[in-house]
Structure formats: C-alpha cells, structure tokens
C-alpha cells in the first residue's frame, strides 16, 4: 500500500508539474513538449489501471499523432511567442478565482463521496486486454464504431477544405 502511494504521488507530481509547465511556458513549442510528458505520465496510470490497450493508444494517438500535428502547425506558422497581456484586465484574476472554485468543489465532492465508491479489489487477468476490448467494441459498440469512421471522414474533408487556400475556392 505504501509503495503504491509513493508511486501514485510521484506519477501525479510528474503529471501535474507537466500540466503547469504547459500552462505557464511562454513558448508554444515548450508547452507542446510539456503536454507530451503529461500524456506519458497519464499513459503509465492507464497501464496501472489494467488498461494496456488504452495506454498504448494514448501514446500513439495523443503523444504521437496529435502532438506531432500540433508541433508541425506551431513550426509552420512560426507562432511560438505571443503577447502576455489580455484585452480585458480583470480576465486573469476572474479566471483564477473561478478555477479555484471549481477545484475546491470537485475535491470536496470526491472527499465526501469517498465512502460510496467501492472498488473491486481484483479483476480478471484478461480485463482490458486487446481481446476483451475488441470483443466489446465489435459486439456491443459496433454502431458507434461505424459512426466514428464517418466522423473521421468528415474531419478529413473539413481539414482539406479549410486549408485549401483562398485562391482555388
């Protein structure tokens, strides 16, 4: 239990520190790299929570494809640096206050509802394995899976149309 706690808090520290690094770094490239660290830490949490398929999908889809796309666009636009002052002066204090309220509320609910969340102590060894995921996906969720393919097709067409440029339109 103690070693688990140490492991949890170390990983949580990495994840939160990387998220804060993304929030406060002035350079967009650094922000993207911090976000990759965060995704990696969360992927380790997934492995720990008996979700190996999701963990590896996280690394390849988020850490790989999505973040490479982000870095590519940042470097394509050369838009690493941005101004630091907002147009509305009270925006920053208001945002910090509202976020704190959200955080305190969420933590309060988690702490007070702790007793109602009863976790299963041990799960079957095949839980979350690619076989298990595949069987549930293609039996129970086959329609959402097909809708997903349409969604990806629409996104692809949308991206092509948007980035085609003005001259050819």
């Amino acid at each position: 239990m103690t070693s688990q706690l140490i492991l949890f808090f170390t990983l949580a520290l990495v994840a939160v520190a990387a998220a804060l690094g993304m929030l406060f770094s002035r350079n967009a490239v650094y922000a993207a790299l911090f976000l990759i660290v965060n995704f990696g830490a969360v992927a380790v949490f997934y492995l720990w929570l008996n979700a190996p398929f999701i963990a590896l999908a996280q690394v390849t889809v988020y850490g790989g494809a999505i973040m490479v796309l982000f870095l590519f666009v940042i470097m394509l636009l050369g838009a690493e640096q941005t101004g630091r002052t907002a147009a509305i002066w009270w925006l920053q204090p208001a945002a910090i206050f509202l976020s704190l309220v959200l955080l305190v509320e969420a933590i309060y609910i988690v702490v007070t509802q702790q007793g109602t969340l009863q976790a299963v102590e041990t799960v079957s060894p095949t839980f979350g394995s690619p076989v298990d995921i595949g069987e549930t996906l293609f039996r129970q969720y086959v329609l959402p899976f097909e809708v997903t393919s349409i969604l990806l097709l629409v996104a692809m067409i949308g991206a092509i149309v948007l980035s085609r440029g003005r001259a050819q339109r």
Partner: protein, 100 residues
C-alpha cells in the same frame, strides 16, 4: 488498487489546469492544447471507474473520446492555419471581427 478518489482527485486537478489554460492563455494553439488536457483528465476518470467497477465499457469510451479528439484537432488546426493566413496572428484577442 488505491481508492478511486485518488484518481478522480488527480483528474479534477488536471481538468482545472486545463480550464485555467483555456481562460488565461492568449495563444490559440495553447488554448487547443489545454482542451486536450481537459479531455485527457476526463479519460483518466473514465479508466479509473472502469477499473473500479470492472466494466470494460469505460475503456471503450476513452477510445471514442480519443477519436473525437483527433478529429477535433485536425479541423481546429486547419482553422487556426486559415485564421493565421488572414490575420497574420493567432492571438485570440485579434479575432474580434466576424469577417476578414
């Protein structure tokens, strides 16, 4: 496993950082990354509950969230590139006109 509350607490912290990023940052790309962070925090909660209740459906939802995030990033970044070509900036304070 550790109590689910630990994971949900971490998920709440990450979500709040993401929400704060959306509110205080001015760079459209960093705002997009903050949205990704929020989706990721929600995914962590899904996986934690899937483990706690031994329900594989929770992991399937994470799979679908990832697909939607990928689609959203493709369209969103294409939009940002188009806006940059029109305005020469991706500062969201500059995006205050409907046309041009």
């Amino acid at each position: 496993m550790l109590p689910v509350g630990y994971y949900i607490g971490l998920s709440a912290v990450l979500f709040t950082i993401g929400a704060l990023g959306v509110l205080i940052r001015r760079n459209a790309i960093v705002i997009f990354m903050s949205v990704e962070l929020m989706l990721n925090a929600a995914n962590l909660a899904f996986v934690a509950f899937a483990r706690a209740y031994e329900a594989v459906s929770g992991q399937l939802f994470v799979f679908f969230v990832m697909t939607v995030a990928a689609a959203e990033v493709a369209v969103g970044l294409a939009l940002i590139v188009t806006i940059f070509h029109t305005k020469q900036s991706i500062d969201i304070d500059q995006m205050n006109t409907m046309k041009g």
